[in-house]
């Protein structure tokens, strides 16, 4: 127990130590996060009227970002499957960064749902009267929190073992790894079912939503990880082989192809049949009765998707610069497609045929940016702490030997020692 507390203490100290770039980055993120908190406090006082949402379009940017981020959390599964199922060793050393990403992203998801609530002060009602299994939202609460706990356990256990300088016992984490793989698929499926289950919203009421969701998640997640790993490689001395990146590239290739194919299936079904069903899709892709707020967005997303898919298929994307461009395109394209492109059109036209467009407000945007900054902050800290610990620079044994009077000595010095071993730009 004492050892565990020392571990937490050391992690905390490590998170405060870094060079000026680290501090500048963290300060900037903190600033944006506080900006979001400021806007949220406004929203608490005045209500959701500070957002662009209306009775017609009753979900907006919050739920759009939430939906996208659930997809991003898949990144972990896409690293875990090759390593633990197919014994791909290239990815073995980087799998933990996927899991840490899942932890931070799920935290962001939970925040996005919380800021969307009209009465966050009644959050405990969820515990007192949980409409399970009828409400898909309760399924999502279980799926997301379960995924968070699974990943926290896996990373926490591995990092703590490294801190204690002992080999992890397989029985304590391998079963959880496999449960987490299935669970990763479940968070997407359940989140998709949240929308698919609504008979009154034809745009969502389609069986293809869940598979599309998975395909786009398995493209955007690993694309994000490809970028992250290069950042980790650049700023720490953690070794990330190019082979690891290229394994992920193959995953994104396949996922993007499936995603584009499913998009084609959906567009064909909607537009060729041309039933009343098509109104929302028409609003999204072509505009409806002179309203076309989303049209430029979705075509940007489609174009980016196509360019990214082409780039990923070409051998050119074995060059890191091209690969990075393709990754950025994928991430942004899917953010548009799985965020605003999936949520907003379902509300336009309204069930009574009224067309009210949605325009996010400044407050709403600040809150979204704040949550993104907070998520990046958490992820940076997690990576910052785990790299030296996993490398064996910060261990309990070392701490005991350098500090016989553990808590009396200067606390930061130890972290600094670890850091000085760490950066290798």
């Amino acid at each position: 127990m004492r050892r565990y507390l020392t571990f937490l203490g050391d992690c905390f100290r490590l998170s405060l130590v870094g060079d000026w770039r680290y501090h500048a980055w963290m300060t900037a993120l903190t600033g944006v996060a506080l900006g979001g908190l400021y806007a949220y406090c406004h929203q608490l006082v005045h209500g959701l009227v500070t957002t662009g949402m209306t009775d017609q379009v009753s979900w907006g940017m919050y739920i759009a970002n939430f939906t996208y981020l659930v997809g991003l959390a898949a990144a972990a599964a896409m690293l875990v499957i090759p390593v633990y199922v197919y014994r791909n060793l290239h990815l073995h050393d980087v799998v933990i960064f996927g899991e840490l990403l899942a932890v931070s992203v799920i935290l962001m998801c939970l925040l996005f749902v919380t800021v969307d609530l009209g009465r966050p002060d009644r959050f405990h009602h969820l515990l007192l009267r949980f409409n399970f299994p009828m409400s898909m939202l309760t399924w999502d609460v279980i799926a997301l929190n379960g995924y968070l706990l699974l990943n926290l356990h896996i990373c926490g256990y591995l990092i703590y073992c490294a801190y204690c300088g002992r080999k992890p016992t397989r029985a304590f984490y391998i079963p959880f790894v496999f449960v987490a793989i299935a669970w990763a698929v479940s968070i997407h499926t359940v989140t998709a079912f949240l929308y698919v289950g609504l008979g009154g919203r034809p745009f969502w009421n389609s069986a293809i939503i869940a598979p599309r969701f998975l395909a786009s998640a398995f493209a955007a997640g690993p694309a994000f990880i490809i970028l992250t790993l290069q950042v980790v490689r650049h700023f720490t001395r953690h070794k990330v082989s190019n082979n690891a990146l290229f394994t992920l590239r193959r995953i994104v290739q396949v996922a993007l192809l499936i995603n584009v194919f499913l998009l084609l299936c959906e567009v064909f079904t909607e537009f060729y049949a041309d039933t009343r069903h098509v109104a929302s899709a028409q609003y999204l892709f072509l505009g409806l009765h002179g309203h076309h707020a989303l049209v430029p967005w979705i075509w940007t997303a489609v174009a980016m998707n196509l360019v990214a898919t082409t780039l990923f298929m070409l051998p050119a994307s074995r060059a890191l610069n091209t690969l990075n461009v393709a990754c950025v395109l994928t991430i942004v394209a899917i953010w548009i497609e799985k965020g605003m492109g999936l949520i907003i059109p379902a509300f336009v036209p309204s069930p009574l045929g009224e067309i009210v467009e949605y325009q996010p407000t400044l407050h709403e945007t600040l809150i979204c940016l704040g949550i993104w900054a907070f998520g990046l902050l958490v992820y940076t800290i997690l990576v910052r702490v785990s790299v030296p610990v996993l490398a064996g620079d910060v261990t309990y044994a070392r701490r005991r030997s350098t500090h016989p009077r553990a808590d009396a000595a200067g606390p930061a010095a130890h972290g600094a020692a670890a850091l000085n071993n760490a950066p290798t730009p």
Partner: protein, 342 residues
């Protein structure tokens, strides 16, 4: 930069024994202070919170409607009475009328007669203490194109001084009190449910404001309080009930309750009472002598969006004879007698 001063020189051996220097300590203190100040600034809008914005301990601990004992319920009603008196300056009568045995309410709307005057909309607003700003209305009257029942071609914002307009017909939509309500199914906290008399209600004190029910409703019957609802002084209807027209709070859902505070004690809903054309019919479908029973049995009846399968208790019907479309009120000499069965 906290801890910077105790860094050993790069490349040097880590030396844990260096104590924190004064400068380092001051820098850490300044950083911590700046951080706290920024946090305080970020949270500063909270100072605008008013007394009523935060739940009192009693409200916070209040149980779900279904779990309240009679004593709990009494306390809740007293609290509501007190709050309304403080905020609106009138002492209301607060009740919680239970559903009656052997009663299932249904609603019939005669589209042959409705002229789209929107009197129902405004009577509903006044009766149910709906927010005037931001404006909330439970009833939406659609001006439909002749020959179409497609809501997408409907006009929601026609001028009700000009009605009825030629070649238009009017279709008011409100909560259909479905027998298989999707809004109830999706609520994560069970804050909304269907009562034995068929009315779907909301416990405004239990709703967490996630708006999933609003997304689920195929009839766009639910409304959210995006801001603190306002009712001008003197316009509050003081006869209020827990599950229907008591003043709502910011951040919760609300919806039509068939005026249960009236209908459960034998009166008609406000929209029925005010309708100048007699287009609106309401009653107990289980009573074979009721008007709605007769309508369902003998009239040409349909439900809106039958394809979504939610089994509405709100029926539209039309007259075979006596419609404003078929028989002019004062038939001119040139119009011959209508053939039988027109």
């Amino acid at each position: 930069m906290p801890g910077d001063d105790s860094h050993p020189a790069p490349g040097g051996t880590p030396d844990g024994g260096v104590p924190v220097s004064r400068r380092g300590f001051l820098a850490q203190g300044a950083a911590a202070t700046a951080g706290l100040a920024a946090l305080a600034a970020a949270m500063s809008p909270l100072r605008h919170l008013k007394d009523g914005d935060l739940p009192s301990a009693e409200e916070f601990l209040q149980k779900h409607y279904h779990e309240m004992t009679p004593a709990d319920k009494e306390r809740a009603l007293n609290r509501i009475r007190e709050q309304v008196r403080r905020r609106h300056g009138v002492t209301p009568t607060v009740s919680d009328p239970p559903p009656m045995d052997g009663v299932e309410f249904v609603y019939g709307l005669n589209i042959s007669r409705c002229i789209g005057c929107r009197k129902c909309v405004h009577a509903c607003v006044a009766e149910n203490n709906l927010s005037r700003a931001p404006e909330i209305q439970y009833i939406r009257v659609l001006e439909m194109e002749k020959g179409s029942i497609d809501v997408e071609s409907a006009n929601h914002h026609y001028d009700s001084d000009q009605v009825p307009r030629p070649d238009k017909w009017y279709m008011p939509v409100q909560c259909h009190q479905c027998a298989d309500p999707p809004c109830v199914k999706v609520c994560p906290v069970g804050a909304t449910w269907q009562e034995p008399d068929g009315i779907t209600v909301i416990d405004y004190d239990w709703c967490i404001g996630c708006r999933y029910c609003e997304a689920a409703c195929p009839y766009w019957a639910r409304r959210f309080n995006f801001a603190e609802p306002t009712i001008p002084p003197g316009q509050l209807n003081p006869h209020i009930a827990y599950l229907s027209n008591r003043p709502r709070q910011k951040g919760v859902m609300e919806k039509c309750t068939f005026c249960l505070h009236r209908t459960r004690v034998g009166r008609l809903p406000a929209c029925v009472e005010v309708c100048p054309t007699g287009s609106r019919k309401f009653g107990n479908v289980l009573d074979p002598n009721s008007e709605v029973h007769f309508i369902l049995k003998h009239k040409r009846v349909f439900v809106l969006k039958a394809d979504v399968g939610t089994l509405p208790r709100f029926f539209y019907y039309f007259d075979e004879r006596g419609s404003r479309y078929h028989e002019p009120i004062a038939p001119g000499p040139e119009s011959g007698p209508l053939p039988e069965g027109a």
